[in-house]
Subunit: 310 residues, 2 copies
């Protein structure tokens, strides 16, 4: 194992995740403070919150540099770091960092989010995902998708993030299955395998030649008509809606120009959601290119190294 060289902090609204990392990027230790999110920090006591989460790492290894990203850099965070406009690569993101010296002498580097001024109707924004994109690799022109509550489609061009667009797919899925009259979803048993057959039926409709699949506000009503017509069972609904909304995201991303059938795309991240995206991609004629694990950590270290070398 390498020697501890830095602390990487993913500091969001609801939680704080910290990693002790070696010079070569090995993760030596991790911890997550559920009550450490910025919404719980009172009176701007962010330094105290950081020391409470990782103070023992400083005690043991000295004033290691800290690299912070996430909502900690937003208006409600420690310091507000302005968005860097697309197109932007490692150099532009590094130039957008801000630093602060803690009372123990450690320097904390805050990484900026990104803004796409070309997005319509208003500039789009992301805060954190750009580090995953950088870590996935900017070496080749291609489209990447980052599944999530607010998933992102991004275009890499000439070694930079050329543009991106947010799709509120995960949030709409949660709204439909938790709060709507359309989809009376049954909670799955913990650890249960998804109902892939139901998932595929939703996704295949979204990927079909049917013109009515372009009518998202109508397509989602099929979660109800499928039950009424005896073609869906209550236990199918959660995964049927999942397939339908993620499939619709692909359909809409194609309409918005992010890909064409026959392209290869990267799916960034490696959580359960990515398996769903990877299952749908071939239905739209897409090949999937694999990327590295821990894309966010790699991206953060690249941006911070560039910033330190300036």
């Amino acid at each position: 194992m390498g020697r501890p060289a830095s602390i990487i902090v993913d500091w969001g609204t609801s939680s704080l995740r910290a990693m002790l990392v070696s010079e070569t990027g090995e993760t030596l230790a991790t911890r997550e403070t559920a009550g450490g999110g910025i919404q719980f920090v009172k009176d701007g006591a962010f330094e105290e919150a950081l020391l409470s989460a990782a103070g023992d790492w400083f005690s043991a290894h000295g004033p290691l540099p800290v690299l912070a990203s996430g909502m900690i850099t937003s208006r409600n965070g420690w310091i507000e770091v302005p968005y860097v406009d697309a197109p932007a690569g490692v150099a532009e993101l590094a130039a957008g960092t801000k630093t602060l010296t803690l009372s123990n002498g450690a320097v904390i580097t805050f990484l900026p989010g990104m803004r796409d001024p070309a997005a319509r109707p208003f500039p789009d924004v992301m805060r954190g995902e750009e580090t995953q994109i950088v870590g996935f690799g900017l070496d080749r022109d291609r489209t990447l998708v980052l599944p999530g509550t607010h998933s992102k489609w991004a275009r890499i061009k000439g070694g930079r993030i050329d543009g991106f667009q947010t799709y509120a797919t995960g949030e709409v899925f949660a709204l439909l299955t938790r709060h709507s009259f359309i989809a009376k979803a049954q909670e799955p048993a913990p650890g249960a395998e998804p109902h892939w057959d139901a998932f595929d039926r939703g996704a295949e409709f979204a990927a079909s030649e049917e013109a009515s699949a372009d009518a998202f506000l109508s397509a989602i009503f099929s979660a109800r008509t499928g039950i009424l017509d005896g073609r869906l069972k209550p236990e199918d609904i959660l995964d049927y809606v999942s397939g339908l909304v993620i499939g619709s995201e692909f359909r809409q991303a194609r309409a918005a120009g992010w890909f064409r059938s026959g392209d290869a795309i990267g799916i960034v991240g490696n959580n359960a959601l990515n398996i769903r995206y990877g299952r749908i991609a071939p239905m739209f004629g897409l090949a999937i290119e694999a990327g590295p694990d821990n894309a966010a950590k790699r991206g953060i270290m690249q941006i911070a190294a560039e910033a330190a070398g300036r």
Copy 2:
């Protein structure tokens, strides 16, 4: 005023609305029982519930015929009346009615809902809206839209309802503005005029040439990016989202083949929502044809008269 000739009951899940109507269709009296919806009726005591709501009308005017529509004809209602398949006109809807004689000798006629077996991915359904369509008029081939929580687009052809499609627009609007992280909507002051400027901005984006307006899951995120970019104010959000989702309904209905620019359509009903639909229609190159007031009552009486004459 004419003599009382029938009682029309719009009996839904949450409420019961009854009208005392003359032979020529004048409404002589109305009442609404908020706790009278079918969800509140215990042990199938529907006759008691009806008598409790309108028993005095029977006492005063004898065993008048009752015409009932709404969820009272569903599986959870008094008797389940099977859907009539599209295409269907007055004759087919009349043939689908069911009757029951009450203990006081009055005959209650239950009107059927409609099903469109050609809808994709599953047959679409409606229960009540078909009476509004019939009352609006089946005399001429055209497209109608019925704004609502689950609005309907319907095609009239050869004197019948040829097909229809549900858009869950009103429900998605409520989910986004009440439960989502995307749109932090401020409640408007009671009786306040809508923010038409904000409404138009949402609708105009939906009606624009922008390819990204086809990406509904992305377009709704603009309620958030508009705030972040200082281009929308919190008090604009409710009407901006309203314009955006209703405008998206039109855009999607066009993609699904319900109209083309230059067509004339009918907007059925006359509530506040219809003003919003009427404001958007010209943005899509649509002229609006006026229809009669009280379309539902007219339709119910036409179907019941046809059923009585068989």
